[in-house]
């Protein structure tokens, strides 16, 4: 029911406002629709995405937190685990499979105990350490493996674009 989802989202919003994790801001863009949020994620220090502020859209299902939200970066991204249209591919955002023997994979998947904060923190660590085995963007995965300098150059460009600094 949308009522309990709404209450939970409100609680998460409150928590994220009062105790925001470093470099992360998230909340509903327009409170007429509480199920669509925008998040700003700061690129983790010491990585090629350092300093960038990446905007992303989070869309929650009406049975949240039983089903995971969908996350999509609204800026240009170049990363092995982000599709070229900005959708994020991490296991925490995947609904639990009903395969009873797929225990090991389901352990990393969505559960109602997860939260927006945990998702965003996972995305930060994903930005820091791409998983080039499950490539959502094959070009990026390949470049990450084989031509790290070029990858870093592109990341730098993206960072500057998100900050609005002319290249």
């Amino acid at each position: 029911m949308a009522g309990s989802a709404l209450r939970r989202l409100m609680a998460e919003y409150k928590q994220l406002t009062l105790n925001p994790p470093e470099g992360i801001i998230a909340g509903p863009i327009n409170e007429e629709n509480f199920f669509e949020w925008e998040a700003l994620i700061t690129g983790p220090e010491g990585t090629c995405f350092e300093g960038g502020v990446f905007p992303a859209k989070l869309v929650f299902p009406s049975d949240y937190p039983l089903s995971p939200p969908k996350m999509q970066f609204t800026c240009e991204m170049f990363h092995p685990n982000i599709y070229s249209d900005g959708r994020v591919c991490i296991s925490i955002l995947h609904a639990p499979g009903d395969d009873p023997m797929g225990y090991e994979t389901s352990a990393e998947r969505w559960s109602p105990v997860q939260s927006v904060e945990k998702i965003l923190l996972s995305v930060v660590s994903m930005l820091a350490e791409p998983n080039d085995e499950s490539g959502a963007n094959v070009d990026a995965a390949k470049m990450w493996r084989e031509n790290r300098d070029e990858f870093n150059r592109i990341a730098e460009k993206i960072v500057r674009r998100t900050l609005g600094i002319p290249i």
């Binding site: 009522g3 209450r7 559960s111 923190l121 300098d149």
Partner: protein, 594 residues
């Protein structure tokens, strides 16, 4: 797809359409009035009326006419004239559209894109299926019969569309915590009106059924009842939602426990109403289709094919609902028989909120892994996944299995208040799952005897801990988890400083590309100035922002919350920009020096 083709047809503007309709109608009326004023025509009209069997006694009174008689004469004349009849029908449709527009303006305001899309789809689908019904199933022969069915379906379709619109809008409104009360009132009034109208139409269909026979009655009433059930469903869902909101807003301490009991039951009430209404609507629809198929000898025609396809869809829907319900019952029984409700001490000991809905727990159910959740929250999660949401412990719930429920397992028994003995018999759940016993002494957070655990579970827990403490390496966390077997305890250990992170050297030499980018820049002073400009402009922005209150607080008003969020975002971006520029200046400085 008929809808996509028809959508591309140019549709005339509503203004033009209605004015043309009004013009046409007034022309017809003028024509009729002129005809009636013509004395030669009076005899004609009277003859016609007598022919029709309308024995009008006043007609012999001569040229003096009452107003009502005059109007009825005009009406008869127009009915006789083919062109006039069509104009009147057109006008009636025009009226219906205008009424719809007015209702939309009054209740809904501007329609959202998805609502418009739904409306369009529904409209064309309705027309498509009703066309098949009228010409394929009923097989009407006479034009007036077609007209009667058309007007019936026009009204029915109109109500269907309004009902759909209400449902869509309700779902949208329930996404927002701050909807003004009159929006709800308006929508509820409209829904009630639709329900009343569908009751009235049911009466009409009973009335028509007396003349037209049982089959006509069944055809007509099935659709009306379908509409009524769906509308009532929306009303009840809406009511529950409003009750929910009210409860959240005005919950006082005195009636809290009572409210909580209602809340606990509410889950199952909501579930059963939801399922009952959906199933009723589906079954009525299915019966209606079966009736259509068997009644009219259309076994080998295009219409029967379409009906069969629709029936197939309905049948699968019903099957799906049934399976879901069986799963629900199974999970609920399993829950009630295998997992005990938490005792009051356990609840006080565990002061956390329910991890699923983040609300306070006044009563909770306990899983074998000692995690507590609300009964309804746990139920709705276990319906779709059979593991503990917190630790991913696989639970033995197999909805497909039909064996009788095993006797309640003695999964957890608290021995003393601070010393709980926990025996877990894994083979009872999954054959390959290990069995173990754990004794937890809460005083020193140390376990007494070693307990094996599957590595994947440990890794999952370790990942949870690592999201909180990214500076720790996974191996350390796993080592500690092997001992504590609980995320909470490990987190506490970390917080108490019992887990020390070794110094991890991060590869910082990543940022080499920046230097290559700037080495290309030839005129250094120019670059320097541009950095200064950038810093200056962004500082100006900062001054404005700092004057506003941004502090970390959670406002009660939604507009203020939106503004604060916006400001926080701007500030984050601004600070990031500033830091970036500072850093670049530094690196450039270093480069120029070297």
């Amino acid at each position: 797809m008929p809808a996509s083709v028809l959508q591309r047809l140019p549709m005339p503007n509503l203004k033009i359409y209605s004015s043309v309709s009004v013009l046409a109608l007034s022309a017809c009326i003028y024509y009729a009035v002129q005809n009636i004023k013509d004395p030669k025509n009076i005899i004609d009209t009277e003859n016609e009326i007598e022919k029709l069997g309308m024995n009008n006694t006043n007609s012999s009174d001569g040229p003096v006419r009452t107003v009502t008689q005059f109007l009825s004469d005009v009406f008869y004349l127009m009915m006789r004239e083919n062109v006039c009849t069509w104009t009147m029908i057109n006008m009636a449709f025009c009226w219906l559209i205008l009424v719809g527009r007015v209702v939309q303006k009054l209740v809904f305001g501007e329609l959202r894109v998805s609502e418009q899309q739904h409306l369009k789809d529904k409209f064309w689908n309705f027309i498509f299926y009703k066309f098949i019904f009228v010409f394929g199933v009923i097989n009407v022969q006479y034009i007036d019969e077609v007209l009667l069915w058309c007007s019936w379906f026009a009204v029915l379709g109109f109500l269907h569309l309004l009902s759909q619109l209400c449902t869509d809008r309700f779902e949208y409104l329930s996404f927002s915590p701050t909807t003004p009360i009159w929006h709800h009132v308006k929508l509820m009034c409209l829904l009630a009106a639709i329900l009343m109208l569908s009751c009235f139409m049911l009466l009409v269909s009973v009335f028509v059924g007396f003349f037209g026979g049982i089959h006509t009655f069944a055809f007509m009433s099935a659709e009306v009842i379908h509409l009524g059930v769906r509308t009532l469903h929306t009303i009840i869902r809406y009511g529950l939602h409003l009750y929910d909101l009210r409860q959240e807003g005005g919950m006082s301490a005195a009636n809290q426990s009572e409210e909580c009991k209602v809340w606990e039951r509410r889950g199952s009430i909501a579930y059963y109403t939801e399922m009952g209404f959906e199933l009723t609507a589906l079954i009525i629809d299915l019966l209606h289709h079966i009736h259509m198929l068997f009644w009219s000898n259309i076994f080998l025609s295009m219409a029967s094919l379409v009906i069969c396809m629709q029936m197939r869809y309905l049948f699968y829907e019903i099957q799906r609902k049934y399976k879901k319900h069986r799963n629900y019952l199974w999970v609920r029984n399993h829950l009630e028989q295998n997992y005990p409700m938490a005792t009051v001490e356990e609840l006080t000991e565990n002061s956390d909120n329910c991890a699923i809905c983040w609300e306070k727990m006044d009563s909770a159910r306990k899983l074998p892994c000692n995690h507590l959740f609300h009964n309804t929250c746990l139920l709705s999660w276990l319906e779709q996944d059979t593991s503990c949401p917190t630790c991913r412990l696989a639970l033995n719930i197999q909805s497909t299995r039909r064996d009788p429920v095993e006797p309640p397992a003695e999964v957890a028994q608290p021995v003393r208040r601070h010393l709980s003995f926990f025996h877990f018999d894994g083979s009872r759940y999954v054959s390959w799952f290990p069995s173990f016993s754990v004794e937890i002494n809460h005083s020193n957070l140390q376990r007494q005897e070693p307990a094996p655990a599957t590595t994947s579970q440990l890794e999952a827990m370790a990942r949870q801990v690592q999201t909180l403490f990214p500076h720790l390496t996974t191996s350390i966390i796993i080592d500690d988890l092997r001992v504590t077997r609980s995320v909470e305890l490990t987190v506490e250990n970390v917080l108490d400083g019992r887990l020390v992170a070794p110094h991890v050297f991060r590869d910082v030499d990543f940022t080499s590309p920046t230097s290559t980018t700037y080495a290309v820049a030839s005129n250094e002073p120019d670059k320097e100035r541009s950095w200064h400009e950038l810093t200056a402009t962004s500082d100006n922005v900062a001054e404005n922002e700092d004057s506003a209150v941004i502090g970390s607080r959670f406002s009660k008003s939604s507009t203020e919350r939106e503004q604060i969020l916006l400001k926080r975002k701007e500030k984050l971006l601004h600070n990031a920009r500033k830091r970036y520029i500072e850093k670049r200046k530094q690196t450039e400085h270093v480069h120029s020096q070297s």
